[in-house]
Amino acid sequence: MYRILIVDDNYENRQLIAEILREVAECDFAANGKEAIDAYNLALEKGQPYNLLLLDIELPEVNGLDILDKIRESEKSVGIPLGEGIPVIIVTAYEKRFLEAYNKGCDDYLLKPIDSDTLLKKIASALEKSNRE
């Protein structure tokens, strides 16, 4: 089973994604930027890093793109080049934010409303790519 961190401020959305992924991954949850960074760091400290991050952009206080920035900066500081860090899939209702997300180092995006087949395919593809590297 893979380990995935779902970052979304909405309870129903987090649970829905986890339920769709129930046969693929064990999911942890974060409802805001602080929880996300804390969970990410704690998993690293425990030696059980997440295999993938699903990140909502529209979050209170620290938005998803700022979280992505922090994670990529932290990876860079330990010598992990862009493109070789944890796969991050951005989840958003706004197509126009994709370019910004790609520039900050996301691997893929998913449009809301979530389509289960698309979600599963994108996750499988990101994990496969990550396993090859």
Binding site: E12, Q15, L16, E19, A93, S116
Partner: protein, 121 residues
């Protein structure tokens, strides 16, 4: 107009199949969302009274996201109309009219989901 039927509000089997999730989880999530709606709509009403368009859009965006993910068409429809009116700078009386429709649909959903038999897990 025909009286609303439960099937018009929600087809649990069809949507849970479409979403590839278990029906009892789907019902649990819809119930949770429906129960959160009155508070969200109260906040929207406050924003409407103070003509705070940013706050209105933020609340509607949140409703839209979850209603969309859960395929709650009876909520998505009136939410979209209201959201469009807010974005277009619609007059308060127009917004109020659309808001009342969304509120009515939210109450219908809450009533329906409260009565539904929980599918076996």
């Amino acid at each position: 107009m025909d009286a609303p039927t439960p099937q018009n509000i929600l087809d649990v089997d069809q949507v849970s199949q479409q979403l590839k999730i278990r029906p009892h989880i789907y019902v649990k999530l819809v119930k949770s969302f429906a129960e959160s709606l009155p508070q969200k709509l109260n906040s929207f009403n406050d924003a409407l009274m103070s003509n705070d368009r940013d706050q209105m859009r933020m609340i509607l965006h949140e409703i839209k996201g979850t209603a969309g993910n859960l395929r709650l068409n009876t909520i998505i429809g009136p939410e979209t109309v209201l959201h469009t009116a807010v974005k277009a700078g619609g007059a308060p009386d127009i917004l109020l009219k659309h808001f009342d429709i969304l509120k009515t649909e939210s109450e219908r959903l809450l009533q329906y989901i409260g009565k539904i038999d929980m599918p076996a897990s």
